[in-house]
C-alpha cells in the first residue's frame, strides 16, 4: 500500500516537473488547442491564428528593435523566411506537420520556419537537416535550462 502511495506521489511530482521543462509551445500544445476549443473549428482556427500572429509579431518587434541597435546582427539573426505562407495556409501546414508524432517536440517558432520552407519548395534533404538541427537545439536548450 505504502509503495503504491509513494509511486503516486512520485508521479504527481514528476509530471508537473516535465511540464515545467517545456520552453515553448510545441506539437502537443498545438494539438491540444482543438480540445481546449471544444472541437469548435472556428474557435480552434482563431486560437491557432492568434498564436501564429503572436509569434510573428514578437519576432518582428524584436527584429526592428535589434535592427536599430545592430543592423548586420539583426539581418543575420532574422534571415529566415516566415511570411511566405499566409496565416491561414500556415495553420493548415502546421496541422499537417504536427500530425506526425515524431515532430511533436519541435517548438512552434521552429515549425513556422519549417512550414515556410515547405511552402518555398526547399529541397527535402535541407528541410530534414533543419528539422534535425531544431530537435538538437531544443534538446540542448532544455538540458541547459535544467542545469
Amino acid at each position: 500500500m505504502n509503495r503504491i502511495l509513494i509511486i503516486i506521489a512520485v508521479l504527481i511530482f514528476y509530471l508537473p516537473a516535465q511540464q515545467m521543462d517545456r520552453l515553448f509551445w510545441n506539437g502537443s500544445d498545438w494539438r491540444r488547442i482543438e480540445k481546449t476549443a471544444n472541437y469548435d473549428p472556428e474557435l480552434t482556427y482563431m486560437m491557432k491564428v492568434g498564436y501564429v500572429n503572436g509569434v510573428l509579431d514578437g519576432r518582428l518587434f524584436y527584429y526592428l528593435k535589434a535592427w536599430t541597435m545592430e543592423q548586420a546582427f539583426a539581418d543575420s539573426l532574422y534571415a529566415e523566411t516566415v511570411d511566405y505562407l499566409s496565416p491561414r495556409e500556415l495553420v493548415k501546414v502546421l496541422d499537417n506537420f504536427y500530425a506526425d508524432p515524431i515532430n511533436g517536440y519541435i517548438p512552434l517558432p521552429s515549425a513556422i520556419i519549417i512550414c515556410n520552407m515547405f511552402g518555398e519548395r526547399i529541397p527535402m534533404n535541407k528541410i530534414d537537416k533543419y528539422i534535425r538541427h531544431s530537435k538538437e537545439w531544443i534538446n540542448r536548450m532544455i538540458l541547459e535550462n535544467n542545469q
Binding site: L23, F24, W25, I33, T36, A37, D40, L43, M46, M47, K48, G50, Y51, V52, N53, G54, V55, L56, D57, G58, R59, L60, F61, Y62, Y63, L64, K65, A66, M69, E70, F73, S76, L77, Y78, A79, E80, T81, P107, L108, P109, S110, I113, M117, I122, P123, M124, N125, K126, K129, Y130, H133, M141
Partner: protein, 348 residues
C-alpha cells in the same frame, strides 16, 4: 452623378482595404474585435487572447535564445523589456483596460504588454506616457512608409521568385533578355549558415570517410559444373571515402581481401574492388536498403567478376550479401567458372 458615387464608394473601399493590409502588428482594434465577435463574457475570448500572448512570448524567447548563442551582450540589451511580471489572467485584464481607451488602438499588443509590465514594475507614469508616445510615433511612421515599402517588398519577392530554377519570366511577358533588378530586401534561407558551418575541406572528408568491416559466408557451385560442392570465404572489408550521393542515388566503393575455400581442397587469396549503387529517399523503405553490387578482382590468382545485391539489415552496420561470381576457368587452378556466394558482413 451615380457613377461619381460608385467611384467614391470604390475609393473608400480601396482605402479601407489598404489600411487593413498595412497593419503590421496586432493592435488595439484586433484585441477589441475578439470580444466584439465572440461576446464579452465568452470564455473563448480569454483563450484566444491567451494564445496570442503565448505566441508573443514564445516568439520573443525563441529569438532571444538564438541571439544569446551568437551575441550574449547584444541579446541582453535587445531583449531586456520586462514581460513576465503579470500572470496571463492579470495581463489580459490589464490589456482590456488599456485598449478600452480608443486612443491606444494603434499601439501594438506587444508594446501594450511592455507598458502594463512597466506599470506593475513601478515605473513612473511620466516615463510610461513617454514610452506610449514614442511607440505611437514609430508605429505611425512605419505604417505611413509601408505603402512605399510594400512596393519594394513585392518587387523583391517577384525577383526572388523569378530567380528560382524554373523560369516563368517569359510566360509573364518578360523576354529572355530581362535583367533582374537588385533585390533590396533579400530574405536568406536559414540553412545557408549551417552550410557554412558544415563546410569541410577535401582532406578532412578523405580522412573521415574510411571504415572497416568483416564478412563471412558460404559458396555454392553452379550445378552445371562438374564439381558440385560448397565452400566458405572470409573477407576483410575496407570502405573508402569515395561515397557519391545525390538526392535519389548513392554509391559506395569498397575493397575486400580475404580467404576463399572450396571443398576440393582448393583455397587461397581473394582480392576485389566493389562498387555498390542504390536508391535513396524512395517511398518504399525496402528499396532504400538494397544496393546493387558490381565487383572485379582476383580469386586464387584468376581474374574474377561478380554482380549481386546487398540488403542492409541494419543501415551501415549489418549487410546480407548475395554475389554471383564468374572467374576465368583454369585447369591448373580447377576453379569452377561460376558460383554463388552468400555472406553476412559487419561494418564498423
Amino acid at each position: 452623378m451615380l457613377s461619381r458615387k460608385i467611384i467614391l464608394v470604390g475609393y473608400i473601399f480601396a482605402i479601407l482595404f489598404a489600411q487593413r493590409e498595412n497593419r503590421i502588428f496586432w493592435d488595439g482594434s484586433n484585441w477589441n474585435r475578439i470580444s466584439t465577435k465572440l461576446g464579452k463574457e465568452s470564455h473563448s475570448v480569454y483563450q484566444i487572447k491567451a494564445s496570442h500572448l503565448n505566441g508573443l512570448l514564445d516568439g520573443r524567447l525563441y529569438y532571444y535564445l538564438k541571439a544569446w548563442e551568437v551575441e550574449p551582450l547584444l541579446a541582453e540589451g535587445t531583449y531586456n523589456d520586462p514581460l513576465d511580471l503579470l500572470r496571463y489572467k492579470e495581463l489580459i485584464g490589464a490589456l482590456d483596460n488599456f485598449y478600452s481607451d480608443p486612443k491606444h488602438n494603434s499601439i501594438p499588443v506587444i508594446s501594450a504588454v511592455i507598458v502594463e509590465n512597466m506599470r506593475i514594475g513601478g515605473i513612473s507614469e511620466k516615463a510610461i506616457y513617454r514610452y506610449i508616445e514614442e511607440t505611437r510615433f514609430w508605429v505611425n511612421n512605419i505604417r505611413t512608409s509601408a505603402d512605399s515599402m510594400s512596393v519594394e517588398i513585392l518587387a523583391a519577392k517577384l525577383d526572388k521568385h523569378l530567380s528560382k530554377p524554373f523560369d516563368i519570366s517569359e510566360r509573364y511577358g518578360r523576354g529572355p533578355d530581362y535583367k533582374q533588378k537588385e533585390v533590396l530586401i533579400k530574405p536568406r534561407s536559414p540553412i545557408r549558415r549551417d552550410e557554412d558551418i558544415d563546410k569541410t575541406s577535401w582532406y578532412q572528408k578523405f580522412t573521415k570517410g574510411w571504415a572497416i568491416g568483416i564478412s563471412g559466408g558460404v559458396n555454392q557451385w553452379n550445378s552445371k559444373d562438374s564439381l558440385n560442392s560448397s565452400g566458405s570465404s572470409y573477407n576483410f572489408i575496407i570502405k573508402t571515402p569515395l561515397h557519391f550521393r545525390t538526392d535519389n542515388l548513392e554509391s559506395i566503393i569498397r575493397f575486400e581481401t580475404g580467404v576463399i575455400n572450396f571443398s576440393s581442397n582448393l583455397n587461397g587469396q581473394q582480392n576485389s574492388m566493389y562498387v555498390q549503387v542504390g536508391l535513396r529517399e524512395s517511398n518504399i523503405p525496402i528499396i532504400n536498403r538494397i544496393k546493387f553490387d558490381i565487383g572485379a578482382g582476383s580469386v586464387i590468382g584468376t581474374r574474377s567478376f561478380s554482380n549481386g545485391f546487398i540488403i542492409s539489415l541494419r543501415k551501415n552496420k549489418l549487410n546480407l550479401i548475395t554475389r554471383f561470381y564468374s572467374a576465368g576457368t583454369s585447369n591448373k587452378s580447377q576453379l569452377p567458372s561460376n558460383w554463388a556466394l552468400f555472406s553476412i558482413g559487419f561494418n564498423f
